[in-house]
């Protein structure tokens, strides 16, 4: 539901990078989004299409790379995925685990001329 705030920030940061690198237009914005961020692709794309008008990204496409949630067990170092709210290690059962991937919300790169 905060997709619009995210999009506004994406455009602001991308616009600054374009200016810093003398790009006349942005063609693609590559975004990494982790699975634990509650963001919806469709809403992101709709929001992007609306907000990009009259900006250096007006013709750009937004490519979202959805990163699956990965946890690391601090007891046995196993790395495992989860999509059902189970955060304990399936190997040794330890609950001492860390989120290794899944919280990302990063602009990876922008492409343009």
């Amino acid at each position: 539901m905060h997709e619009l705030t995210v999009i506004e920030n994406v455009l602001q940061i991308s616009g600054q990078v374009a200016r810093d690198n003398q790009l006349r237009r942005i063609d693609v914005i590559n975004l990494d989004v982790g699975g634990m961020q509650h963001l919806n692709e469709e809403i992101m794309q709709h929001g992007f299409d609306a907000a990009k008008k009259d900006t250096v990204a007006s013709e750009a496409s937004l490519k979202i790379f959805w990163l699956p949630v990965k946890l690391r067990c601090n007891a046995c170092s196993r790395v495992f995925g989860t999509d059902n709210g189970k955060f304990h290690c399936p190997g040794c059962g330890s609950k001492d685990t860390e989120v290794e991937q899944g919280m990302e919300l990063n602009i990876k790169s922008i492409e343009g001329e």
């Binding site: 539901m1 905060h2 705030t5 995210v6 920030n9 994406v10 602001q12 940061i13 991308s14 990078v17 690198n21 790009l23 975004l31 634990m36 961020q37 509650h38 949630v69 059902n84 709210g85 189970k86 955060f87 304990h88 609950k95 001492d96 989120v99 919280m103 919300l105 990063n106 602009i107 990876k108 790169s109 922008i110 492409e111 343009g112 001329e113």
Partner: protein, 220 residues
């Protein structure tokens, strides 16, 4: 031409959150961020929490709502500084609105700020405000299946208050499953079962909160 950026989209919010943290630390003020869905009972919980905390410390409130100042008005009875932020439809508070609110409070005269975030379990989770810790408030009427649906919130929270336990006899709420699901996501979560209206469980919650705030003091 491809230009590597590798920047967090919410960098600006994070930077301001850190500045808020520094401001609060300089003035020795703690800040707790209450996150819940609308109607879980955040304001009622604060009505029970504030008078007890006031015995030992000077409390202020930052109240976040899309519209109206109804919740702030309810808390005026405690004669504490309250700043109302109306987001005008935005589903969360962010660190820049907290910065403005901190500017409206006399921080030298406060020990603790309680932030009542906009009623929403998803959006506020993504926005660091500069708080010391987060408390999630859920109510039994929302169902016992919520933990797995909001892992980021429960992973980051220090405590969960499960409110409206007086209604448990009338609904299908599996308390054991609920707590086990929470501890699956975050084994360190403190869980408090309360009825903010009749007072059940509130003393235990308050005892923990006071202790947690003292611990935060020692950390600094």
């Amino acid at each position: 031409m491809e230009i590597k950026v590798l920047k967090n989209v919410l960098d600006k919010n994070m930077n301001q959150a850190e500045k808020n943290r520094q401001t609060l630390m300089r003035n020795q003020v703690k800040m707790v961020n209450f996150i819940s869905s609308p109607g879980a009972g955040k304001t009622t919980l604060l009505e029970k929490t504030i008078p007890v905390l006031q015995e030992d410390m000077k409390v202020g409130v930052i109240e976040g709502d899309a519209y109206t100042s109804k919740d702030a008005e309810r808390l005026q009875q405690f004669s504490i500084p309250i700043v109302q932020i109306n987001t005008g439809g935005t589903c969360h508070l962010d660190s820049s609105s907290i910065e403005k609110a901190l500017g409206e409070l006399v921080l030298e005269e406060l020990d603790l700020i309680l932030v009542e975030n906009v009623g929403n379990l998803i959006c506020p989770t993504a926005f660091d405000l500069g708080e010391d810790f987060r408390v999630a408030v859920l109510s039994t009427t929302e169902g016992d299946d919520k933990p797995a649906k909001y892992p980021m919130l429960f992973r980051q929270a220090k405590a969960v208050v499960l409110n409206k336990i007086d209604l448990m006899p009338y609904i299908n709420f599996d308390n054991e499953t609920f707590k086990n699901d929470l501890w699956e996501i975050n084994p360190n979560l403190q869980v408090f079962e309360t009825s903010s209206t009749d007072g059940t469980g509130v003393a235990k919650w308050l005892k923990w909160l006071k202790g947690a705030l003292k611990e935060e003091e020692k950390r600094v």
